[in-house]
Protein backbone atom coordinates (compact mmCIF):
# COMPACT_ATOMS: atom_id res chain seq x y z
CA UNK A 1 0.00 0.00 0.00
CA UNK A 2 1.40 3.40 -0.96
CA UNK A 3 1.50 5.85 1.89
CA UNK A 4 0.27 9.35 1.26
CA UNK A 5 2.12 12.31 2.75
CA UNK A 6 -0.61 13.15 5.21
CA UNK A 7 -0.56 9.54 6.42
CA UNK A 8 3.18 9.81 6.97
CA UNK A 9 2.64 12.94 9.03
CA UNK A 10 0.02 11.07 11.03
CA UNK A 11 2.39 8.15 11.59
CA UNK A 12 5.01 10.54 12.87
CA UNK A 13 2.64 12.13 15.37
CA UNK A 14 1.29 8.74 16.32
CA UNK A 15 4.82 7.65 17.13
CA UNK A 16 5.37 10.75 19.27
CA UNK A 17 2.07 10.06 21.04
CA UNK A 18 3.06 6.47 21.75
CA UNK A 19 6.36 7.62 23.21
CA UNK A 20 4.39 10.03 25.38
CA UNK A 21 2.20 7.14 26.58
CA UNK A 22 5.26 5.03 27.36
CA UNK A 23 6.73 7.85 29.42
CA UNK A 24 3.46 8.51 31.24
CA UNK A 25 3.11 4.82 32.09
CA UNK A 26 6.67 4.29 33.28
CA UNK A 27 7.70 7.62 34.74
CA UNK A 28 5.65 7.56 37.96
CA UNK A 29 7.02 4.18 38.92
CA UNK A 30 10.61 5.01 38.02
CA UNK A 31 10.26 8.21 40.01
CA UNK A 32 9.17 6.22 43.06
CA UNK A 33 12.12 3.85 42.68
CA UNK A 34 14.50 6.80 42.43
CA UNK A 35 12.93 8.31 45.54
CA UNK A 36 13.22 5.09 47.48
CA UNK A 37 16.98 4.97 46.86
CA UNK A 38 17.53 8.68 47.37
CA UNK A 39 18.57 10.47 50.53
CA UNK A 40 15.42 11.67 52.34
CA UNK A 41 16.56 15.21 53.00
CA UNK A 42 17.68 15.58 49.39
CA UNK A 43 14.28 14.39 48.12
CA UNK A 44 12.71 17.30 49.99
CA UNK A 45 14.49 19.76 47.70
CA UNK A 46 12.39 18.50 44.82
CA UNK A 47 13.34 18.00 41.20
CA UNK A 48 14.04 14.29 41.49
CA UNK A 49 13.40 12.45 38.22
CA UNK A 50 14.26 8.84 37.44
CA UNK A 51 17.62 8.35 39.13
CA UNK A 52 18.66 8.91 42.76
CA UNK A 53 20.91 11.95 43.29
CA UNK A 54 22.35 10.81 46.58
CA UNK A 55 22.19 7.03 46.64
CA UNK A 56 21.27 5.41 49.93
CA UNK A 57 19.78 2.17 51.23
CA UNK A 58 18.74 3.95 54.41
CA UNK A 59 15.04 4.04 53.46
CA UNK A 60 14.88 0.29 53.00
CA UNK A 61 16.92 -0.33 56.14
CA UNK A 62 14.48 1.75 58.19
CA UNK A 63 11.62 -0.14 56.58
CA UNK A 64 13.12 -3.50 57.53
CA UNK A 65 13.26 -2.45 61.16
CA UNK A 66 9.48 -2.09 61.19
CA UNK A 67 8.29 -5.41 62.58
CA UNK A 68 4.65 -4.77 61.72
CA UNK A 69 5.66 -4.45 58.08
CA UNK A 70 7.63 -7.69 58.12
CA UNK A 71 4.64 -9.43 59.66
CA UNK A 72 2.36 -7.90 57.01
CA UNK A 73 4.66 -9.19 54.28
CA UNK A 74 4.52 -12.65 55.81
CA UNK A 75 0.73 -12.58 55.97
CA UNK A 76 0.57 -11.42 52.34
CA UNK A 77 2.85 -14.20 51.13
CA UNK A 78 1.07 -16.85 53.18
CA UNK A 79 -2.26 -15.61 51.90
CA UNK A 80 -1.16 -15.78 48.27
CA UNK A 81 0.25 -19.30 48.60
CA UNK A 82 -2.71 -20.73 50.52
CA UNK A 83 -5.20 -18.91 48.31
CA UNK A 84 -3.65 -20.05 45.05
CA UNK A 85 -3.28 -23.71 46.06
CA UNK A 86 -6.82 -24.07 47.43
CA UNK A 87 -8.38 -22.08 44.59
CA UNK A 88 -6.78 -24.35 42.01
CA UNK A 89 -7.97 -27.46 43.82
CA UNK A 90 -11.57 -26.31 44.23
CA UNK A 91 -12.01 -24.71 40.81
CA UNK A 92 -10.24 -27.39 38.83
CA UNK A 93 -12.21 -30.13 40.55
CA UNK A 94 -15.51 -28.40 39.76
CA UNK A 95 -14.48 -27.63 36.17
CA UNK A 96 -13.33 -31.19 35.50
CA UNK A 97 -16.55 -32.61 36.94
CA UNK A 98 -18.56 -30.28 34.73
CA UNK A 99 -16.96 -31.68 31.58
CA UNK A 100 -18.72 -34.98 32.36
CA UNK A 101 -22.35 -35.88 32.05
CA UNK A 102 -24.07 -36.82 35.27
CA UNK A 103 -27.44 -36.68 36.94
CA UNK A 104 -28.30 -33.25 38.31
CA UNK A 105 -25.80 -31.39 36.12
CA UNK A 106 -28.30 -28.70 35.21
CA UNK A 107 -29.20 -28.22 38.88
CA UNK A 108 -25.52 -27.78 39.73
CA UNK A 109 -25.06 -25.29 36.89
CA UNK A 110 -28.07 -23.27 38.02
CA UNK A 111 -26.81 -23.24 41.61
CA UNK A 112 -23.47 -21.90 40.39
CA UNK A 113 -25.05 -19.35 38.07
CA UNK A 114 -27.49 -17.61 40.41
CA UNK A 115 -24.84 -15.96 42.64
CA UNK A 116 -23.45 -14.23 39.53
CA UNK A 117 -26.61 -12.16 39.43
CA UNK A 118 -27.83 -12.10 43.02
CA UNK A 119 -25.68 -11.15 45.96
CA UNK A 120 -26.66 -10.29 49.49
CA UNK A 121 -24.48 -7.20 49.75
CA UNK A 122 -21.92 -6.06 52.22
CA UNK A 123 -23.89 -5.85 55.46
CA UNK A 124 -25.61 -9.27 55.39
CA UNK A 125 -22.24 -10.81 54.49
CA UNK A 126 -20.63 -9.00 57.39
CA UNK A 127 -23.34 -10.16 59.79
CA UNK A 128 -22.94 -13.76 58.61
CA UNK A 129 -19.13 -13.67 58.91
CA UNK A 130 -19.37 -12.35 62.44
CA UNK A 131 -21.87 -15.10 63.31
CA UNK A 132 -19.54 -17.72 61.82
CA UNK A 133 -16.63 -16.33 63.80
CA UNK A 134 -14.70 -15.50 60.63
CA UNK A 135 -13.88 -11.96 61.75
CA UNK A 136 -10.23 -11.48 62.66
CA UNK A 137 -9.36 -14.90 61.26
CA UNK A 138 -6.83 -15.62 58.53
CA UNK A 139 -9.40 -17.78 56.71
CA UNK A 140 -11.57 -14.80 55.91
CA UNK A 141 -8.91 -13.98 53.31
CA UNK A 142 -9.13 -17.39 51.71
CA UNK A 143 -12.53 -19.06 51.95
CA UNK A 144 -15.01 -16.49 50.58
CA UNK A 145 -13.07 -16.03 47.34
CA UNK A 146 -12.18 -19.69 46.74
CA UNK A 147 -14.91 -20.36 44.22
CA UNK A 148 -15.47 -18.37 41.07
CA UNK A 149 -17.89 -19.64 38.47
CA UNK A 150 -16.32 -17.40 35.88
CA UNK A 151 -12.96 -19.15 36.34
CA UNK A 152 -14.62 -22.56 36.37
CA UNK A 153 -16.26 -21.88 33.01
CA UNK A 154 -12.92 -20.81 31.57
CA UNK A 155 -11.19 -23.95 32.86
CA UNK A 156 -14.02 -26.15 31.60
CA UNK A 157 -13.95 -24.55 28.15
CA UNK A 158 -10.20 -25.12 28.04
CA UNK A 159 -10.56 -28.78 29.04
CA UNK A 160 -13.28 -29.37 26.46
CA UNK A 161 -11.30 -27.72 23.69
CA UNK A 162 -7.89 -29.27 24.37
CA UNK A 163 -8.61 -32.72 25.72
CA UNK A 164 -10.84 -34.77 23.42
CA UNK A 165 -13.04 -37.32 25.19
CA UNK A 166 -11.66 -40.00 22.84
CA UNK A 167 -8.21 -39.56 24.37
CA UNK A 168 -9.54 -40.41 27.81
CA UNK A 169 -11.58 -43.31 26.47
CA UNK A 170 -8.69 -44.88 24.60
CA UNK A 171 -6.49 -44.62 27.70
CA UNK A 172 -9.13 -46.42 29.72
CA UNK A 173 -9.43 -49.08 27.02
CA UNK A 174 -5.66 -49.51 27.23
CA UNK A 175 -6.14 -50.37 30.87
CA UNK A 176 -5.39 -47.08 32.62
CA UNK A 177 -7.38 -46.37 35.77
CA UNK A 178 -9.33 -43.14 36.33
CA UNK A 179 -6.58 -41.86 38.59
CA UNK A 180 -3.84 -42.60 36.07
CA UNK A 181 -5.82 -40.86 33.35
CA UNK A 182 -6.21 -37.84 35.59
CA UNK A 183 -2.58 -37.58 36.69
CA UNK A 184 -0.93 -38.67 33.42
CA UNK A 185 -3.21 -37.05 30.84
CA UNK A 186 -5.58 -34.43 32.22
CA UNK A 187 -3.24 -32.67 34.63
CA UNK A 188 -0.19 -32.30 32.34
CA UNK A 189 -2.36 -31.04 29.48
CA UNK A 190 -4.03 -28.49 31.77
CA UNK A 191 -0.82 -26.74 32.79
CA UNK A 192 -1.44 -23.56 30.77
CA UNK A 193 -4.91 -22.97 32.19
CA UNK A 194 -3.75 -23.80 35.72
CA UNK A 195 -0.95 -21.26 35.35
CA UNK A 196 -3.44 -18.66 34.14
CA UNK A 197 -5.82 -19.17 37.04
CA UNK A 198 -2.93 -19.30 39.52
CA UNK A 199 -1.64 -15.96 38.32
CA UNK A 200 -5.06 -14.27 38.40
CA UNK A 201 -5.61 -15.54 41.90
CA UNK A 202 -2.16 -14.45 42.98
CA UNK A 203 -2.65 -10.89 41.78
CA UNK A 204 -6.13 -10.72 43.31
CA UNK A 205 -4.90 -11.88 46.72
CA UNK A 206 -1.79 -9.75 46.70
CA UNK A 207 -3.62 -6.57 45.72
CA UNK A 208 -6.67 -6.75 47.98
CA UNK A 209 -6.94 -4.47 51.00
CA UNK A 210 -10.69 -4.18 51.49
CA UNK A 211 -11.03 -7.65 53.04
CA UNK A 212 -8.66 -6.52 55.78
CA UNK A 213 -10.47 -3.21 56.15
CA UNK A 214 -13.85 -4.92 56.48
CA UNK A 215 -13.13 -8.02 58.53
CA UNK A 216 -9.78 -7.72 60.29
CA UNK A 217 -9.01 -5.62 63.38
CA UNK A 218 -6.02 -7.63 64.52
CA UNK A 219 -2.70 -5.94 63.57
CA UNK A 220 -1.01 -9.35 63.38
CA UNK A 221 -3.20 -10.21 60.37
CA UNK A 222 -2.70 -7.01 58.39
CA UNK A 223 -1.39 -7.38 54.84
CA UNK A 224 1.08 -5.24 52.92
CA UNK A 225 -1.71 -3.59 50.95
CA UNK A 226 -3.49 -2.68 54.17
CA UNK A 227 -0.28 -1.16 55.51
CA UNK A 228 -0.11 0.75 52.25
CA UNK A 229 -3.58 2.13 52.93
CA UNK A 230 -2.56 3.16 56.44
CA UNK A 231 0.50 4.85 55.02
CA UNK A 232 -1.47 6.78 52.41
CA UNK A 233 -3.93 7.94 55.05
CA UNK A 234 -1.14 8.83 57.46
CA UNK A 235 0.85 10.85 54.96
CA UNK A 236 -2.32 12.61 53.82
CA UNK A 237 -3.13 13.36 57.43
CA UNK A 238 0.32 14.76 58.06
CA UNK A 239 0.16 16.92 54.96
CA UNK A 240 -3.33 18.04 55.91
CA UNK A 241 -2.20 19.18 59.35
CA UNK A 242 0.55 21.26 57.80
CA UNK A 243 -1.83 22.66 55.20
CA UNK A 244 -4.41 23.53 57.85
CA UNK A 245 -1.80 25.26 59.95
CA UNK A 246 -0.63 27.27 56.95
CA UNK A 247 -4.17 28.23 56.02
CA UNK A 248 -4.82 29.52 59.49
CA UNK A 249 -1.60 31.46 59.35
CA UNK A 250 -0.14 29.50 62.23
CA UNK A 251 3.52 28.63 62.40
CA UNK A 252 3.98 25.11 61.11
CA UNK A 253 5.22 22.67 63.69
CA UNK A 254 8.89 22.17 62.92
CA UNK A 255 8.95 18.59 64.15
CA UNK A 256 6.22 17.69 61.66
CA UNK A 257 8.17 19.23 58.82
CA UNK A 258 11.27 17.38 59.90
CA UNK A 259 9.37 14.13 59.83
CA UNK A 260 8.41 14.69 56.23
CA UNK A 261 11.74 14.10 54.46
CA UNK A 262 12.31 10.72 56.02
CA UNK A 263 8.73 9.67 55.61
CA UNK A 264 8.77 10.53 51.91
CA UNK A 265 11.72 8.32 51.18
CA UNK A 266 10.30 5.55 53.33
CA UNK A 267 6.90 5.94 51.71
CA UNK A 268 8.55 5.39 48.35
CA UNK A 269 10.47 2.39 49.68
CA UNK A 270 7.26 0.89 51.03
CA UNK A 271 5.49 1.39 47.70
CA UNK A 272 8.37 -0.38 45.96
CA UNK A 273 8.21 -3.25 48.44
CA UNK A 274 4.44 -3.57 48.05
CA UNK A 275 4.44 -3.49 44.26
CA UNK A 276 7.73 -5.18 43.39
CA UNK A 277 6.46 -8.78 43.30
CA UNK A 278 3.74 -7.77 40.85
CA UNK A 279 6.08 -5.64 38.73
CA UNK A 280 8.60 -8.47 38.54
CA UNK A 281 6.15 -11.07 37.31
CA UNK A 282 3.80 -8.90 35.23
CA UNK A 283 5.68 -9.08 31.91
CA UNK A 284 5.26 -12.86 32.12
CA UNK A 285 1.76 -12.56 33.53
CA UNK A 286 0.29 -10.34 30.90
CA UNK A 287 0.18 -12.96 28.19
CA UNK A 288 -1.87 -15.21 30.47
CA UNK A 289 -4.11 -12.34 31.45
CA UNK A 290 -4.75 -11.37 27.86
CA UNK A 291 -5.70 -14.98 27.14
CA UNK A 292 -8.16 -14.86 30.01
CA UNK A 293 -9.84 -11.73 28.68
CA UNK A 294 -10.22 -13.39 25.31
CA UNK A 295 -11.62 -16.59 26.81
CA UNK A 296 -14.14 -14.55 28.76
CA UNK A 297 -15.22 -12.56 25.74
CA UNK A 298 -15.61 -15.60 23.53
CA UNK A 299 -17.81 -17.14 26.17
CA UNK A 300 -19.95 -13.98 26.33
Amino acid sequence: MKKSNSYKVFLFFNFIFMMFIVIVMLFPYLNIIAKSFNDGADTMKGGLTVYPRIFTLENFKTLMKDNSLISAAEVSVLRVITGVVLTLLVQFAAAYALTKNFRGKSIALTLYMIPMFVSAGQMPTYVLFSKMGLLNKFWVYILPSLFSFYNVIIIRTFLQNTIPASLEESAIIDGAGELTVFSKIILPLSKPILATIALWTMVMHWNDYTTTLLYIRKPGLYTLQYKMMELVKESERLQSIIAAARENGEAVDETLLNQMPTSEGITAAQIVLTTLPIICVYPFLQKYFVKGIMAGSIKG
Partner: protein, 310 residues
Protein backbone atom coordinates in the same frame (compact mmCIF):
# COMPACT_ATOMS: atom_id res chain seq x y z
CA UNK B 1 -52.18 -50.55 33.96
CA UNK B 2 -52.04 -52.51 37.12
CA UNK B 3 -50.97 -51.11 40.39
CA UNK B 4 -48.12 -53.53 40.91
CA UNK B 5 -46.82 -52.79 37.44
CA UNK B 6 -46.56 -49.09 38.23
CA UNK B 7 -44.87 -49.90 41.50
CA UNK B 8 -42.47 -52.14 39.62
CA UNK B 9 -41.62 -49.36 37.19
CA UNK B 10 -41.11 -46.89 39.97
CA UNK B 11 -38.81 -49.35 41.70
CA UNK B 12 -36.73 -49.80 38.56
CA UNK B 13 -36.56 -46.06 38.14
CA UNK B 14 -35.42 -45.59 41.72
CA UNK B 15 -32.86 -48.32 41.32
CA UNK B 16 -31.56 -46.70 38.14
CA UNK B 17 -31.37 -43.38 39.94
CA UNK B 18 -29.33 -44.87 42.79
CA UNK B 19 -27.09 -46.67 40.32
CA UNK B 20 -26.48 -43.46 38.40
CA UNK B 21 -25.63 -41.59 41.57
CA UNK B 22 -23.31 -44.38 42.68
CA UNK B 23 -21.62 -44.56 39.29
CA UNK B 24 -20.89 -40.84 39.34
CA UNK B 25 -19.97 -40.65 43.01
CA UNK B 26 -16.51 -39.25 42.25
CA UNK B 27 -18.01 -36.48 40.17
CA UNK B 28 -20.20 -35.44 43.10
CA UNK B 29 -17.17 -35.60 45.35
CA UNK B 30 -15.34 -33.20 43.03
CA UNK B 31 -18.28 -30.80 43.07
CA UNK B 32 -18.79 -30.99 46.82
CA UNK B 33 -16.24 -28.35 47.93
CA UNK B 34 -17.56 -25.72 45.55
CA UNK B 35 -21.18 -26.49 46.40
CA UNK B 36 -20.41 -26.06 50.10
CA UNK B 37 -18.56 -22.82 49.38
CA UNK B 38 -21.38 -21.22 47.41
CA UNK B 39 -23.93 -22.48 49.93
CA UNK B 40 -22.06 -20.78 52.75
CA UNK B 41 -20.74 -17.65 51.06
CA UNK B 42 -23.34 -16.93 48.37
CA UNK B 43 -26.63 -18.37 49.59
CA UNK B 44 -26.35 -18.21 53.38
CA UNK B 45 -26.02 -14.40 53.44
CA UNK B 46 -29.19 -13.95 51.35
CA UNK B 47 -31.67 -14.17 54.26
CA UNK B 48 -29.69 -11.31 55.77
CA UNK B 49 -31.35 -9.03 53.22
CA UNK B 50 -34.31 -8.94 55.61
CA UNK B 51 -32.29 -6.48 57.70
CA UNK B 52 -33.20 -3.91 55.05
CA UNK B 53 -36.87 -4.27 55.98
CA UNK B 54 -36.41 -4.43 59.74
CA UNK B 55 -35.67 -2.18 62.62
CA UNK B 56 -32.58 -4.32 63.17
CA UNK B 57 -31.57 -5.15 66.70
CA UNK B 58 -27.83 -5.92 66.72
CA UNK B 59 -27.92 -7.64 70.08
CA UNK B 60 -31.11 -9.62 69.54
CA UNK B 61 -31.56 -10.07 65.77
CA UNK B 62 -34.58 -12.37 66.26
CA UNK B 63 -36.39 -9.61 68.13
CA UNK B 64 -36.06 -7.14 65.24
CA UNK B 65 -39.44 -5.78 64.20
CA UNK B 66 -40.50 -5.52 60.58
CA UNK B 67 -40.76 -1.96 59.34
CA UNK B 68 -40.90 -2.83 55.62
CA UNK B 69 -40.03 0.21 53.54
CA UNK B 70 -39.35 2.67 56.33
CA UNK B 71 -35.59 2.23 55.96
CA UNK B 72 -35.76 3.07 52.27
CA UNK B 73 -37.83 6.16 52.98
CA UNK B 74 -35.32 7.17 55.62
CA UNK B 75 -32.47 6.88 53.10
CA UNK B 76 -34.04 9.65 51.08
CA UNK B 77 -34.62 11.80 54.11
CA UNK B 78 -30.91 11.60 54.87
CA UNK B 79 -29.16 14.39 53.01
CA UNK B 80 -25.95 12.34 53.17
CA UNK B 81 -27.42 9.45 51.22
CA UNK B 82 -28.72 11.58 48.40
CA UNK B 83 -25.36 13.29 48.22
CA UNK B 84 -23.66 9.89 47.97
CA UNK B 85 -26.03 8.88 45.18
CA UNK B 86 -25.50 12.05 43.15
CA UNK B 87 -21.75 11.86 43.70
CA UNK B 88 -21.69 8.25 42.50
CA UNK B 89 -23.64 9.17 39.39
CA UNK B 90 -21.52 12.22 38.75
CA UNK B 91 -18.27 10.23 38.89
CA UNK B 92 -19.74 7.44 36.75
CA UNK B 93 -20.95 9.82 34.06
CA UNK B 94 -17.68 11.73 33.92
CA UNK B 95 -15.75 8.45 33.71
CA UNK B 96 -18.14 7.11 31.08
CA UNK B 97 -17.52 10.07 28.79
CA UNK B 98 -13.76 10.05 29.19
CA UNK B 99 -12.51 6.61 30.12
CA UNK B 100 -14.88 4.68 27.88
CA UNK B 101 -13.81 6.13 24.51
CA UNK B 102 -10.15 6.51 25.52
CA UNK B 103 -9.14 2.82 25.20
CA UNK B 104 -10.97 2.56 21.86
CA UNK B 105 -9.05 5.51 20.44
CA UNK B 106 -5.86 4.11 21.95
CA UNK B 107 -6.50 0.74 20.31
CA UNK B 108 -7.11 2.40 16.93
CA UNK B 109 -3.86 4.34 17.25
CA UNK B 110 -1.84 1.31 18.39
CA UNK B 111 -3.16 -0.56 15.39
CA UNK B 112 -1.53 2.01 13.13
CA UNK B 113 1.95 1.16 14.42
CA UNK B 114 3.49 -0.92 11.68
CA UNK B 115 6.62 -2.02 13.56
CA UNK B 116 5.62 -5.22 15.41
CA UNK B 117 8.32 -4.96 18.09
CA UNK B 118 7.39 -1.39 18.90
CA UNK B 119 3.71 -2.27 18.98
CA UNK B 120 4.30 -5.11 21.46
CA UNK B 121 6.52 -2.94 23.66
CA UNK B 122 4.01 -0.09 23.83
CA UNK B 123 1.23 -2.55 24.64
CA UNK B 124 3.18 -4.33 27.38
CA UNK B 125 4.22 -1.08 29.01
CA UNK B 126 0.70 0.32 28.89
CA UNK B 127 -0.58 -2.75 30.80
CA UNK B 128 1.74 -2.16 33.74
CA UNK B 129 -0.50 0.04 35.91
CA UNK B 130 -3.37 -2.41 35.58
CA UNK B 131 -1.54 -4.93 37.74
CA UNK B 132 -0.95 -2.52 40.60
CA UNK B 133 -3.60 -2.33 43.28
CA UNK B 134 -5.63 0.87 43.55
CA UNK B 135 -4.11 1.60 46.91
CA UNK B 136 -0.59 1.29 45.46
CA UNK B 137 -1.61 3.66 42.70
CA UNK B 138 -2.80 6.12 45.32
CA UNK B 139 0.48 5.58 47.17
CA UNK B 140 2.39 6.44 44.01
CA UNK B 141 0.45 9.63 43.39
CA UNK B 142 0.67 10.60 47.04
CA UNK B 143 4.39 10.64 46.46
CA UNK B 144 4.17 12.33 43.04
CA UNK B 145 1.78 15.01 44.33
CA UNK B 146 3.82 15.69 47.48
CA UNK B 147 5.16 19.19 48.07
CA UNK B 148 8.56 18.17 46.78
CA UNK B 149 7.15 15.77 44.22
CA UNK B 150 7.47 15.98 40.47
CA UNK B 151 4.02 17.45 39.84
CA UNK B 152 4.69 20.35 42.16
CA UNK B 153 8.09 20.75 40.49
CA UNK B 154 6.19 21.39 37.26
CA UNK B 155 3.75 23.76 38.91
CA UNK B 156 6.67 25.67 40.42
CA UNK B 157 8.47 25.70 37.04
CA UNK B 158 5.56 27.57 35.51
CA UNK B 159 5.52 30.00 38.38
CA UNK B 160 2.70 28.42 40.37
CA UNK B 161 2.51 27.93 44.10
CA UNK B 162 3.42 24.45 45.36
CA UNK B 163 0.27 22.92 46.76
CA UNK B 164 -1.10 19.79 48.38
CA UNK B 165 -3.09 18.40 45.50
CA UNK B 166 -4.62 15.54 47.46
CA UNK B 167 -6.03 18.02 49.96
CA UNK B 168 -7.80 20.03 47.22
CA UNK B 169 -11.49 19.04 47.08
CA UNK B 170 -11.75 20.61 43.62
CA UNK B 171 -9.02 18.37 42.24
CA UNK B 172 -10.65 15.11 43.31
CA UNK B 173 -12.76 14.37 40.23
CA UNK B 174 -9.92 15.30 37.88
CA UNK B 175 -7.66 13.07 39.91
CA UNK B 176 -10.10 10.16 39.71
CA UNK B 177 -10.22 10.58 35.92
CA UNK B 178 -6.42 10.76 35.64
CA UNK B 179 -5.92 7.66 37.79
CA UNK B 180 -8.56 5.69 35.91
CA UNK B 181 -6.99 6.64 32.60
CA UNK B 182 -3.53 5.73 33.79
CA UNK B 183 -4.58 2.39 35.18
CA UNK B 184 -7.10 1.41 32.56
CA UNK B 185 -6.29 2.78 29.11
CA UNK B 186 -3.80 0.10 28.09
CA UNK B 187 -5.69 -2.78 29.57
CA UNK B 188 -9.04 -1.58 28.29
CA UNK B 189 -7.66 -1.44 24.75
CA UNK B 190 -6.93 -5.20 24.60
CA UNK B 191 -10.46 -6.24 23.79
CA UNK B 192 -10.87 -3.57 21.10
CA UNK B 193 -7.49 -4.34 19.61
CA UNK B 194 -8.52 -7.97 19.33
CA UNK B 195 -11.69 -6.90 17.55
CA UNK B 196 -9.67 -4.69 15.18
CA UNK B 197 -7.27 -7.51 14.33
CA UNK B 198 -10.29 -9.63 13.51
CA UNK B 199 -11.42 -7.27 10.73
CA UNK B 200 -11.36 -8.99 7.35
CA UNK B 201 -8.30 -7.76 5.41
CA UNK B 202 -10.20 -8.10 2.11
CA UNK B 203 -12.43 -5.23 3.22
CA UNK B 204 -9.40 -2.95 3.43
CA UNK B 205 -8.19 -4.04 0.02
CA UNK B 206 -11.59 -3.35 -1.46
CA UNK B 207 -11.68 0.05 0.24
CA UNK B 208 -8.22 0.87 -1.15
CA UNK B 209 -9.33 -0.06 -4.63
CA UNK B 210 -12.30 2.25 -4.18
CA UNK B 211 -9.84 5.01 -3.41
CA UNK B 212 -10.43 5.31 0.34
CA UNK B 213 -7.40 6.61 2.22
CA UNK B 214 -6.27 5.18 5.55
CA UNK B 215 -8.38 7.58 7.58
CA UNK B 216 -11.52 6.79 5.59
CA UNK B 217 -10.81 3.08 5.93
CA UNK B 218 -10.78 3.45 9.70
CA UNK B 219 -14.06 5.38 9.66
CA UNK B 220 -15.90 3.16 7.18
CA UNK B 221 -14.34 -0.26 7.72
CA UNK B 222 -12.62 -0.62 11.09
CA UNK B 223 -15.06 1.24 13.31
CA UNK B 224 -18.24 -0.37 11.95
CA UNK B 225 -16.75 -3.85 12.32
CA UNK B 226 -15.69 -3.32 15.94
CA UNK B 227 -19.06 -1.74 16.79
CA UNK B 228 -20.58 -4.94 18.31
CA UNK B 229 -17.65 -5.18 20.73
CA UNK B 230 -17.99 -1.49 21.58
CA UNK B 231 -21.69 -1.92 22.28
CA UNK B 232 -21.18 -4.97 24.50
CA UNK B 233 -18.58 -3.10 26.51
CA UNK B 234 -20.83 -0.06 26.68
CA UNK B 235 -23.67 -2.19 28.06
CA UNK B 236 -21.44 -3.40 30.86
CA UNK B 237 -20.45 0.17 31.57
CA UNK B 238 -24.02 1.43 31.61
CA UNK B 239 -24.95 -1.45 33.87
CA UNK B 240 -22.44 -0.24 36.42
CA UNK B 241 -23.39 3.45 36.33
CA UNK B 242 -24.81 3.16 39.81
CA UNK B 243 -21.80 1.41 41.32
CA UNK B 244 -18.50 2.90 42.33
CA UNK B 245 -14.92 2.02 43.08
CA UNK B 246 -14.58 1.68 46.84
CA UNK B 247 -10.83 1.03 46.87
CA UNK B 248 -10.15 4.22 44.97
CA UNK B 249 -12.70 6.54 46.55
CA UNK B 250 -11.99 5.43 50.12
CA UNK B 251 -8.26 5.70 49.51
CA UNK B 252 -8.59 9.29 48.27
CA UNK B 253 -10.61 10.52 51.23
CA UNK B 254 -8.85 12.60 53.87
CA UNK B 255 -9.42 15.44 56.30
CA UNK B 256 -10.00 17.88 53.44
CA UNK B 257 -11.66 15.70 50.87
CA UNK B 258 -14.87 14.13 52.13
CA UNK B 259 -16.38 13.03 48.87
CA UNK B 260 -18.81 10.25 49.76
CA UNK B 261 -20.00 7.71 47.22
CA UNK B 262 -22.46 4.91 47.92
CA UNK B 263 -19.91 2.25 48.89
CA UNK B 264 -17.98 4.55 51.23
CA UNK B 265 -21.25 5.67 52.80
CA UNK B 266 -22.27 2.06 53.40
CA UNK B 267 -18.88 1.22 54.87
CA UNK B 268 -18.78 4.21 57.18
CA UNK B 269 -22.36 4.01 58.40
CA UNK B 270 -22.67 0.25 58.39
CA UNK B 271 -19.46 -1.38 59.46
CA UNK B 272 -17.84 1.57 61.21
CA UNK B 273 -21.00 3.23 62.48
CA UNK B 274 -23.12 0.17 63.22
CA UNK B 275 -26.18 1.42 61.32
CA UNK B 276 -26.97 -1.99 59.88
CA UNK B 277 -30.51 -1.42 58.66
CA UNK B 278 -29.87 1.71 56.60
CA UNK B 279 -26.67 0.36 55.05
CA UNK B 280 -28.34 -2.91 54.13
CA UNK B 281 -31.28 -1.06 52.63
CA UNK B 282 -28.95 1.26 50.72
CA UNK B 283 -26.85 -1.66 49.49
CA UNK B 284 -29.95 -3.53 48.36
CA UNK B 285 -31.27 -0.45 46.58
CA UNK B 286 -27.95 -0.08 44.79
CA UNK B 287 -27.95 -3.73 43.77
CA UNK B 288 -31.50 -3.62 42.44
CA UNK B 289 -30.94 -0.40 40.50
CA UNK B 290 -27.69 -1.79 39.08
CA UNK B 291 -29.55 -4.83 37.86
CA UNK B 292 -32.32 -2.74 36.30
CA UNK B 293 -29.72 -0.58 34.54
CA UNK B 294 -27.92 -3.58 33.11
CA UNK B 295 -31.15 -5.18 32.03
CA UNK B 296 -32.42 -2.01 30.40
CA UNK B 297 -29.11 -1.38 28.62
CA UNK B 298 -29.18 -4.93 27.34
CA UNK B 299 -32.72 -4.59 25.99
CA UNK B 300 -31.82 -1.34 24.23
CA UNK B 301 -28.75 -2.92 22.68
CA UNK B 302 -30.83 -5.87 21.52
CA UNK B 303 -33.28 -3.52 19.81
CA UNK B 304 -30.65 -1.34 18.17
CA UNK B 305 -28.18 -4.00 17.11
CA UNK B 306 -27.83 -7.74 17.13
CA UNK B 307 -25.40 -7.75 20.03
CA UNK B 308 -26.42 -8.21 23.64
CA UNK B 309 -24.96 -9.63 26.83
CA UNK B 310 -27.81 -11.91 27.78
Amino acid sequence: MMDSEIRQKKKIKRKKFCQDIYKDRYIYLLLLPSIILIAVFSYAPLPGIRIAFQNYNIYKPEASEWVWFDNFIEIFKYGDCLKAVTNTFYISIVLLFITFPAPIIFALLINEITHTGLKKTVQTISYLPHFLSWISVIGIVTSLYAKSGIVNDFIAMFGGERMLLLAEPGFLVTNVVILNLWKGIGWGSIIFLAAITGVDQALFEAATLDGANRFKQVIYVTIPTIMPTVIIMLIWRLGSLFSDNFELMYGLQNAFVQFEVISTWIYKNGIEGGNYKLSTAFGLLQGVINFIFLFAANQIAKKLTDSSVF
